[in-house]
Every structure is written in structure tokens, then in C-alpha cells.
Symmetry: C2
């Protein structure tokens, strides 16, 4: 399949439980339908393969996020769409990565802390609120939202597939992705919704 | 320029001062002349960007080498020729990376410890022999040579460019690299020596 994308980094940021991984799960098949080369660096992959031994202090978090940024940088500049799906709470380090990578698409997964606490998929907020987990983002450690993210996904108002399609549209707009093929006799390109159907 | 190479990892191993970086410097332009996408992960790049905080204990060395292997794996499977140029002293971890990466070309830079001590480009052997550096490979920490490396570069007997050409030939033999273009009216392909001239 022809690769119709250009290397870039899709950099998610948002609270634990905001929906970063769920949106990623919906985004990946959409990108695959375009022939993109994709690598996902989510929290688990990174903690296992890049950041074993790092804790959750500010310094260790910064090292972790810089390291993910370095790997995304190597991948992006070789034509891969690298997806980083870590909490990435601090603005300064995200902006450092933006400066390094350049082809950087920041996706803010916006959701209220209350909703995250209510969802609490992994049971982590309960533990954090009980003081059993220290330095937990949003509870006992700060989260700094981005000021000018390329995309905002509001997971209290939109479905994961709508969020994923929003990202695809932005990638098209920024020139990182061109549609797969003209659809129909009018010669118009496939819309993200049609590609969702193709990828299903 | 057409990319005439397939993703793989060129995994150097050898004592400090064996010539890994020097051969890499000669290899990179040869690969560039073929349009390869290349990333070099040498000791410095890795210590700065991937392994800050790790020391030289067996455990930390293993973590370091596994981490380089993980990044080479991501790059190789996306069509990049990843070059790892670390000492990489332990056989077991190299073989772990071989199993992970699969497209793995091990290059043993073979040289006697005596020659390394004589060269001592960075003055590290002097310090290690004086006991000022602990856990120094070849002096106070083991080096386990590979049993079946794809390439052996004997830097006491051959020039760095000869070593680099040897690697290029092996990459061709293994199908990771095809020659740039036929040369001459006989339709034969360019030999590594001719490419050296092109890259100069």
C-alpha cells in the first residue's frame, strides 16, 4: 500500500484516564488505512523498554518525557508517524520536544478531574486520593494543560472515534496526511468518516 | 535519491578503542550514497538521550544495551539502517537483541587488548589500569567476543575504509543493500570501492 503520510509525532497529553490510549486505539487503524508507518509509545511500552528504574519525581518524569521525545524524533525524521501517549504533565518539557521534533502535533485530551475520578478505570485515583500513591498527576502532582495544542479532544463531549477523526483532519490540514484515494465520480477525496468504514 | 536498502541493525561490538566509531564514520557515507536512511546510536548519543543515570554495573550495562536494541528495533522495522556502536560486552544481551530485531548484522571489531592499550585515544586505559576507573571492559570487566558474527573487522590488519567496505559487501550478500546503479557498458554493478569514490 502506498504510504500517503509524512513523518510526524502525535503527542498526546492529558490526565490519567482522560482517554489517550482509547483514542490511540481508534486512530491507529485510520492511519494504517492510509499506509502510514506507525509506532505507538504509550506509558507501558516506555516504562518497560526505555525508562525502567525511573520514578515519578519531577526530574524522573522530565527524563522520561525527554527520552520518549528523542525516540519520536528519530522515528519522525525517518518517515514514521510516532504516537506518544503518556500523561506528559509539564508544559516546558513538551515544548522542548516540540522544538526538537518540529513535526509535532500536540493533542490535548481535555477532561475534568472529576470525570477521571468517576471513570477510574485502573483504580488509581482511589489509591491516590487515599494517599497510597504519591505524586499522582492531578491529585498530588500538577498537570499543566497546553496553551496552543494542535488538537483538543473533549472526551466528555465526543466519542473516541470522533476524537480520532479530528486528529486525522488536522494531520491532513497540516500536510502530514493526504487522503487515500479519490472516492466517487466527482473526484473528491475520502473523508475520515469513509476511511473509518474502510478500516472497519 | 532512491532508497536501495532495507531496514536492518548493524550491531558493532568490540573493546573501547577497537575502532567502532571510526569504521562507522567511513560506513555512513557509503550507505548514504545508496540512499539509505541511517541513524547512528553511539555511546555518546545513547548516554545523553537514552541512558542518563545508568552506571557500568552488569545490570546497568544490560539495561543500556537492551534499550539501544529496542530503539534499533523500532527503526529497523520502519526501513532505517540503525547503527549501534557501543562496546556491548555481553554475549547474552547481544543475542537477546538479535532475537528481537531479527534483521541483525553483528560486526565484531576484533583487536587485541594490547593494541587498545597502546592506542588509548581517550586516555581511558591508563586510568583503568591505574584503578581510577572501575568496571572497565577488558581491564576490570569482561568482554565476551561473539561466536558467529556476520562480519569481523580486524583493525590491526585492515584500514577503516576496508572494514566499512567489508560491511557493505555483507549487507549486499544478505539482501539489505542493492548496488546504486549499473556502472559501465558491461552492465555490472558498482563495487563498494567505486562507491567510496562516489561518496568522497
Amino acid at each position: 500500500m502506498t504510504n500517503t503520510s509524512r513523518g510526524c509525532t502525535i503527542w498526546f497529553t492529558g490526565l490519567s484516564g482522560a482517554g489517550k490510549s482509547t483514542i490511540t486505539e481508534h486512530l491507529v487503524p485510520l492511519l494504517k488505512a492510509r499506509g502510514s508507518k506507525i509506532e505507538v509509545l504509550d506509558g507501558d511500552v516506555v516504562r518497560t523498554n526505555l525508562s525502567k528504574g525511573l520514578g515519578f519525581s519531577k526530574e524522573d518524569r522530565d527524563t522520561n518525557i525527554r527520552r520518549i521525545g528523542f525516540v519520536c524524533h528519530l522515528l519522525s525524521r525517518n518517515g514514521v508517524v510516532a504516537i506518544a501517549a503518556a500523561i506528559s504533565p509539564y508544559k516546558a518539557i513538551r515544548n522542548e520536544n516540540r522544538a526538537l521534533i518540529k513535526d509535532f502535533v500536540e493533542v490535548y485530551v481535555k477532561v475534568s478531574l472529576e470525570t477521571c475520578i468517576k471513570r477510574d478505570v485502573k483504580g488509581l485515583y482511589k489509591k491516590a486520593l487515599a494517599g497510597e500513591i504519591k505524586e499522582f498527576t492531578g491529585v498530588s502532582d500538577p498537570y499543566e494543560p497546553p496553551e496552543n495544542p494542535e488538537v483538543i479532544c473533549e472526551t466528555e463531549k465526543e466519542t473516541p472515534i470522533e476524537s480520532a477523526q479530528k486528529i486525522v483532519r488536522k494531520l491532513e490540514e497540516l500536510g502530514y496526511l493526504i487522503p487515500l484515494a479519490p472516492v466517487g465520480s466527482d473526484g473528491k477525496y475520502a473523508a475520515p468518516e469513509q476511511l473509518t468504514a474502510l478500516a472497519a
